[in-house]
């Protein structure tokens, strides 16, 4: 009899112990894992550990149209997975009531490694990022207050917040942290380039290999491997657009930052046309022609681009072959990142 008690007691102890451990999820959810060929993250994962429940809540919120004033626009509307979470085919995006923005939607991809967000780097913490599109009059045109109110009124949400954060309260911080948990998980690291680099039994073709050499000589100083951006702000000589977007200057008010924009990653560029901060180039060929023939000299033009790049027609062919190895089809088809039925 006592022995039985002892066994039960032990069992209960085990259960209690299991319950008290944090970030322990019963499933096989692996949480956030940095790819072997990537550096350490800029986002402090320890501050907001990714749990299965938090990730799933973040994903639901990412595809939640109630984020917008009239419940029509979700994050996923301008960040489509099929185009590597950009707004394929749109130079600038149309948000609520088909109002147009002024910049090309950047990809939701490998954001855990970005030290700042937006093309001008105006937002320095991923947890603060979602507020911008929600309250922007041409994107979602909603208030944070009202988003929280709407979510609180839908019975499923308090329960999902409870699962993710322990209690059913829906707060600004929980909302954005759940979105961050989803966004940091949206990692693209399975392109052909990655598999070659990790020695997973793949080789570059002759053309790709030649292109990679050219890339390392001519492009790598800004589009730094393995994320293919050094996350600095540069003027790449495309000249002011029709709306005279001053880019980074709007954030720093430093004249030396005029017309500078964050160096975009080149990953998945096969899926993310059009290119540049205002989507002015429709093809990669057009982009390369810009770098060789059309650089506009301006006071803040990046010194590395003075006089343009020297690339022959064959160089460009090789380079384009290499750039296509940065496309990651597993990323754009990964069911974990898609809207769930």
């Amino acid at each position: 009899m006592y022995r039985k008690h002892l066994i039960i007691l032990l069992c209960v102890n085990v259960i209690l112990f299991a319950c008290s451990r944090k970030n322990d999820t019963p499933s096989l959810f692996a949480g956030f894992k940095a790819p072997a060929n990537f550096p350490t993250t800029a986002y402090d994962i320890v501050k907001n550990p990714v749990t299965k429940e938090g990730f799933e809540l973040g994903r639901k919120l990412f595809y939640e149209p109630r984020m917008s004033r009239n419940n029509t626009i979700s994050c996923g509307d301008c960040h489509l997975q099929t185009s590597a979470f950009t707004h394929h085919g749109h130079d600038v995006s149309h948000g609520i009531d088909d109002r147009l923005g002024s910049r090309n939607a950047p990809p939701i991809m490998n954001l855990a490694w970005h030290p700042a967000f937006m093309l001008d780097g105006g937002i320095f913490d991923l947890d603060l990022q979602p507020i911008a599109p929600i309250i922007n009059p041409v994107e979602m045109d909603e208030t944070m207050d009202n988003v929280l109110r709407k979510l609180r009124g839908i019975p499923a949400y308090p329960e999902l917040f409870r699962k993710a954060f322990g209690t059913p309260e829906i707060t600004t911080a929980r909302l954005t942290k759940a979105l961050s948990q989803f966004m940091v998980m949206v990692v693209s690291s399975n392109s052909k380039y990655d598999r070659v680099m990790r020695g997973e039994g793949m080789q570059f073709t002759t053309a790709e290999s030649a292109g990679y050499k050219i890339f390392q000589q001519q492009c790598n100083s800004c589009h730094k491997e393995p994320l293919f951006s050094d996350f600095t702000y540069r003027n790449n000589g495309i000249g002011a657009g029709p709306n005279n977007d001053l880019g980074r200057y709007d954030i720093t008010l430093n004249a030396a930052d005029k017309y500078k924009f964050k160096v975009p990653s080149l990953r998945n560029l096969g899926f993310t046309a059009p290119y540049m901060h205002d989507g002015r180039f429709y093809t990669l060929g057009g982009v390369l022609d810009h770098y060789t023939n059309e650089i506009q000299d301006m006071p803040t033009l990046d010194p590395l681009l003075k006089g343009g790049l020297r690339l022959s027609a064959t160089d460009k062919e090789y380079l384009l072959a290499f750039l296509q190895t940065l496309n990651d089809t597993t990323f754009i088809t990964d069911r974990r990142f898609s809207e769930q039925p």
Binding site: K4, H5, I8, L9, V12, L16, S20, K47, P115, A116, M118, G121, G122, I123, F124, D125, D127, L128, I131, A132, I134, I135, N136, T143, M144, D145, V147, L148, T171, T172, A173, T176, K177, D250, I251, T252, L253, N254, D257
Partner: protein
């Protein structure tokens, strides 16, 4: 029997676990001594007139007639110095206030301080740079981008708080496309996160001896009555004209406005 045993066991263990969870780190006030409430009143005026939203007509130093539809600003990081020169810093988490014209209660910043007589009051007009860069979970109350600040005191596109917001209309302002003659002053800027930029954080220090020192005692609530003269926004080191500057937001010019408005505050009297 067995069930009962297990049940009691679980009950005891859970009690212990819950007890452990519910314990909080108590903040022990530093100043020592008994604590009481000090109220600091921000009484917004326009020159010699009371501020009346929408209906009041005022004239600035440039001779422009205007009215005010919205006025709100952050007061934070309150410090007090007593007769002996000892400074009491109000604990940061209880030291953020959003003063809103049109919301009477918001115009009294109430803080807990050790009992005593205070000669000097200082506070930040705006939000310190540390809080501007803090984790979102630390942005509660008036600092919560959702619930804390109707009419938006946060720049989402350029992460940071708007410290001071003044809006109204004036015939001096050229008509906008909708035909309105609105002016909008949204002043912020904490110095930049990774690249330095404008810093409009202003510390205001006020000698309380002429207007009457607050004598903070247990069971009573002293009230330091400050007048906040909005006309100072338009006059000071820089004469600011509504016709020329109807919209002032994140710009170099905003620093000139902030240098003016730092002089808005004067101590009228204290109710002990």
């Amino acid at each position: 029997m067995k069930v009962k045993f297990v049940f009691i066991y679980i009950l005891v263990i859970s009690a212990i676990v819950f007890q452990a969870c519910s314990r909080k780190d108590d903040v022990v006030p530093t100043g020592g001594g008994e604590m009481s409430t000090l109220s600091i009143q921000f009484d917004n005026i326009v020159g010699a007139k009371k501020l009346q939203l929408n209906t009041g007509a005022y004239v600035n130093a440039s001779g422009e007639t205007f009215n005010i539809s919205l006025l709100q600003y952050y007061i934070s990081n309150i410090k007090l110095q007593d007769a002996s020169g000892k400074t009491f810093v109000v604990p940061q988490d209880s030291s953020y206030f959003l003063v809103k014209e049109g919301d009477g209660a918001s115009q009294f910043a109430k803080v807990r301080v050790p009992t005593g007589d205070y000669y000097t009051l200082s506070f930040v007009l705006g939000v310190d740079s540390l809080r501007n860069t803090m984790d979102i979970s630390k942005r509660t109350g008036v600092l919560d981008p959702a619930t804390g600040m109707d009419n938006g005191m946060y720049w989402s596109w350029n992460s940071g708080y708007i410290f001071f917001k003044l809006e109204g209309t004036s015939d001096a302002v050229p008509a906008d496309p909708s035909g309105q003659h609105k002016f909008r002053y949204h002043i912020g800027g904490f110095g930049g996160y990774s690249a330095p930029t404008i810093n409009n954080i202003k510390t205001v220090t006020i000698d309380l001896r002429n207007g009457g020192i607050p004598r903070v005692r247990a069971g009573r609530q002293a009230n330091v009555h400050l007048m906040v003269d909005v006309l100072k926004v338009f006059d000071g080191n820089t004469r600011v004209s509504l016709a020329k500057n109807s919209t002032v937001m994140f710009s170099d010019f905003s620093t000139l406005v902030a240098n003016n408005y730092v002089n808005m505050f004067f101590h009228d009297h204290t109710e002990n």
